[in-house]
Amino acid sequence: MEHLRPVAGAPSPDDGASGPDLADLLRRSGRGDEAAFAALYDASAARVYGLAVRVVRDPAQAEEVTQESFLEIWRTAGRFDPARGSALSWLLTITHRKAVDRVRSAEASSRRETTYEQRNQPVAHDATAEAAEASMEARRVRGALANLTEVQREAVSLAYLGGYTHTEVATMLDLPVGTAKTRIRDGMIRLRDALGVGS
């Protein structure tokens, strides 16, 4: 199933071993197909929720972020354009933005850092098809991360998984203000190349 992917040649769920075609499920969701949306949820919820937990830390808030994200995804599914990127990237862009909005609002910040370590249970590898797929991907990504410099790896991780701004990242890593954004970009580009995203 060869298809054009002008902006990104990321390994997509539909050329993975097992995953359903998220782009097709999104298209059908946009037409009000609730069964397609349920299938979309089943195929992506572990990554959406996992990202939300990683950024906001508090599982209860992560559930709210996940719920809000899926509602947004349902509402706007008709606006997804496969020519601009993969469905998974679209879902996670929405999720990440919501998670970041959540932690940057003053109200949420006081509740951060609660009980992540105790309550966050990594997924059992055979729990679902999605989890199996994610765990294969995760291995590949960890390999690619190992090729980054330590500063790049920390900058990328604090920015994307930590939800911090580049200015905050600069302070956390003792970098001159203005250099963290370069480290983030360099790190992301190196990851992109190592993972074979894009042309």
């Binding site: 902006v7 990104a8 990321a10 390994p11 946009g30 009000g32 949306f37 349920a38 949820y41 919820a45 572990a46 990554r47 959406v48 929720y49 996992g50 937990v53 559930e63 996940t66 719920q67 899926f70 509602l71 349902w74 509402r75 008709g78 606006r79 601009r84 990127g85 993969s86 990237s89 879902l91 996670l92 990440h96 933005r97 970041v100 249970q121 997924v123 059992a124 679902t128 797929e133 994610a134 765990s135 995760a138 990504v141 960890r142 990328v156 920015a159 994307y160 998984l161 939800g163 701004t165 954004k181 370069t182 983030i184 970009r185 360099d186 992301m188 990851l191 993972l195 995203v197 894009g198």
Partner: protein, 230 residues
């Protein structure tokens, strides 16, 4: 490679503050290279998320599916007629700002997509639109509000940047409440920004210079005040 291109990575992982994001989205609207790079880096970030996959509690699925049963999916965007192209560009830039200022609005809405009509366009073309234009030194700023839409838009031309470490903050003057924040202005000389909040109860709008991040209430005298006619 200029400075603004270098923000692509931080933008793709949501590591810019609101002001920087506004500036970068204005740039994105004009820079195909950056759009392509952002798209690729978002694909990359999505793979990074795979390392964090966690099965959500089963009850969450029921809540999500119950939610969506009561919500109508939005229609897909429809291409605007050709003649509106130029306005569309203006509006696209404005829309980028709307996304930033309206917390939680449309992440899916990329600034380079033409959307019709946006809030800014609706206000500027409303039949009851009323405008006040002020000369601010070399700059001009026009605030247009529509009571029927309940929104206001500011259009600036040749606006100098705020002092280092400061931002321009927008305000509504609301009787009984005083000055109510209507959001921060992105740093850019020419722009169209929709004020956050309800314009119908306001008797005017204003701009002040505030510390980065904005203030709860004005901490400096306004640099411009735009009275709304009753």
């Amino acid at each position: 490679m200029t400075d603004v291109h270098a923000l692509s990575g931080a933008y793709a992982v949501d590591a810019l503050d609101d002001i920087e994001r506004a500036a970068f989205e204005r740039h994105l609207a004009e820079c195909a290279d950056c759009r392509a790079e952002v798209a690729e880096l978002r694909e990359t970030a999505a793979l990074l998320a795979a390392t964090e996959a966690v099965e959500p509690p089963p009850a969450l699925r029921d809540r999500v599916l119950a939610d969506i049963a009561t919500v109508r999916p939005l229609p897909p965007p429809v291409a605007p007629p050709r003649s509106r192209r130029r306005l569309g560009n203006l509006v696209a830039a404005a829309a980028a700002t709307v996304v930033l200022l309206g917390a939680g609005l449309a992440v899916w809405h990329q600034p380079w997509e033409e959307e019709n009509p946006t809030i800014a366009e609706s206000v500027l073309t409303a039949t009851d639109a009323q405008s006040t234009t002020l000369e601010l030194g070399e700059a001009t700023a026009t605030v247009t509000h529509s009571d029927s839409l309940g929104r206001a838009v500011i259009v600036t031309d040749d606006m100098p940047p705020p002092p280092e470490g400061k931002v321009y903050q927008l305000w509504f003057d609301v009787p009984g409440e005083g000055m109510v924040s209507a959001g921060l202005m992105p740093v850019a000389t020419d722009q169209t920004v929709v004020l956050e909040g309800d314009a119908t109860t306001a008797t005017g709008a204003g701009i002040t210079v505030e510390p980065a991040g904005g203030s709860e209430e004005p901490t400096t005298p306004p640099v411009a005040v735009f009275p709304f006619d009753a």
